[in-house]
């Protein structure tokens, strides 16, 4: 009897092997299709950035550009002031990231590993921020910034970015932290480490992938911010990339499509580059088993 069952199981396993051999073929086709859907639009953006505006109106949108109109990039960089906006976005984002990382690592460590009264309450306060629609705070924040003289400064943007980036970052890091065993900390304390050493030498290295994840996610959010930079900053020299993308639509609706796509290309390149370089770490970070909620 057992022999029959065993034989059956081997047959099933065999069948499974065959099945998993045919899957790749159909799978490959499906995957090719998926890749096409995911990446075609991006290729299209790059191709379009080389077209002239006439081409946009006259030729079908999937056609290749007749010539490489690099002047679109020049127009975007100079007339569209991409050089200024790019620098601003870069500075704002980088500085915000430093603060977000510092604050959120410290805070989530204190909120998960340290023991004190009110810990849960503070955690809830931070997490509630995930749900806040940013539109709601525009006028109050604007008034506050105006009254302390921070309007039209880089600082106003950075403060806003950091504050709004805390909730999600703390949430992510806290979930990572939950999986770091307390014994590790105990062992370190027994060895004579103080709390700062525990934080810097034990926790932070273990949080590496979590930190990278937070870095990448917050980079995307801050790089693509439109609402805050539009409301709090009016000096052209301080504006960011997203505002620059609006430069090519004028009052009566005329649009310089070539330059718009070139601007998009310029704006997208850093994020793609960053992602390309760090993506392995990000994937590892997200797959290291820590993000289990």
């Amino acid at each position: 009897m057992e022999e029959i069952v065993r034989q059956q199981k081997i047959k099933i396993a065999h069948k499974r092997k065959i099945q998993s051999k045919t899957l790749p073929f159909i799978g490959k086709l499906g995957i090719a299709l998926i890749l096409l859907i995911e990446i075609y639009p991006i290729i299209w953006i790059i191709l379009s950035s080389f077209k002239s505006t006439q081409e946009f109106n006259m030729t079908p949108s999937y056609s290749l550009p007749t010539a490489i109109h690099l002047e679109n990039y020049v127009t975007a960089w100079k007339a569209g002031k991409m050089n200024i906006f790019f620098t601003n976005s870069a500075i704002n984002t980088l500085v915000s990231l430093i603060f977000i990382l510092a604050f959120s690592t410290m805070a989530s460590f204190a909120l998960t590993k340290m023991k004190w009264k009110g810990r849960d309450l503070v955690l809830k306060i931070f997490l509630s921020g995930i749900m806040i629609p940013t539109v709601i705070v525009l006028i109050p924040l604007f008034t506050v910034y105006k009254n302390v003289g921070l309007l039209n400064t880089r600082t106003a943007l950075i403060i806003s970015y950091v504050a709004f980036g805390l909730s999600l970052s703390i949430y992510l890091l806290s979930t990572y932290l939950k999986y770091i065993p307390d014994d590790l900390i105990e062992a370190a304390v027994i060895d004579g480490a103080n709390i700062y050493q525990v934080f810097l030498e034990i926790i932070l290295p273990l949080l590496k992938t979590g930190i990278v994840t937070v870095l990448v996610i917050q980079f995307f959010f801050k790089w693509n911010d439109l609402m805050f930079s539009m409301t709090f900053v009016s000096k052209t020299e301080l504006k960011t990339i997203q505002t620059g993308l609006l430069y090519f639509s004028d009052m009566y609706g005329n649009r310089n499509w070539g330059a718009i796509f070139a601007s998009i290309g310029i704006s997208v390149m850093p994020t793609l580059l960053l992602y390309g370089c760090l993506n392995k770490m990000v994937i590892e970070g997200m797959t290291s088993g820590a993000v289990k909620g």
């Binding site: 995957i31 953006i45 949108s61 806040i132 629609p133 709601i136 008034t143 993000v291």
Partner: protein
Amino acid sequence: MEKVLGDKKAIALFIVPPLLLFIGVVFIPIIWSIVYSLYSGMPGVKFDFVGLSNYTKMMQDKTFWQAFWMNMRYVGIVTSGQILFGLLMAMIFQFAIKKYKVFVRTIVFFPVVLPSVAVAQLFSKMFEITPSYGLINALLEVMGLTELIQPWLGQGGTAFGVLCIMDIWTAIGFYAVIIYGALVDIPGEVIEAAQIDGANSFQLFRRILIPLLKPILTTCFIFSLSGTLKMFESATALTKGGPGVATRSLSMFMYNTSFTYSEYGYGSTVAVFILIECLVATCLVGLISKKLKGDV
């Protein structure tokens, strides 16, 4: 140990700066907005205290409910789409792709990093009909399906559809990567054991994978809901809320009310509503996931 972990100075150092910043920049403006919702008019121009009457006004406002239902439909379609396709994609990563794993994952993640203005311009051009056919209409023409060629963004129903597709497309990569992370963690032996026990793919999926993925799926739902309930930039960039009000979300309605109509008090009321909506959604998701955890 307790001493080290209870070190008050350290705690203060770690918590106070971010907490102060958060309360000052996020919390206080929210309280401010809640206070505003008890007023009517526009600060700086004409601002009168009206108590809770904004709330009763909102409950009876047809346009509010219209925006609310549009938002609900959007949330239903987009959140389920993002997570479903994310899950599907994650499964494909795990089970169907042997080579080039990292390459595929990188590509699928690309749309996530694009700014919403850019994606909207992209989709506008893709679904174009005049002066020349965009990608979609051109494809339909080539395939001979000319009856299906239409002004996708010019009609209420289809414009809403394009918006949903756009927002699902943008986010699939994000959820795929997160869910894949959790999938990878499921020990291979568990799956093999189930297969040897005679489970077919469907049972494998339902009885083994889903329960093990529940925590990560809950996280995904919360992320997704926090985005879809507050949706603003993507629809504004794509259709400005049109045609008519077919793609006007609740946040857009709030923005219009506050800034275009200068009814900042009433607009704050809508904002408070959105806030409550999000909190309720979070609690619901939390409750459901706890309950389901109990069943497993």
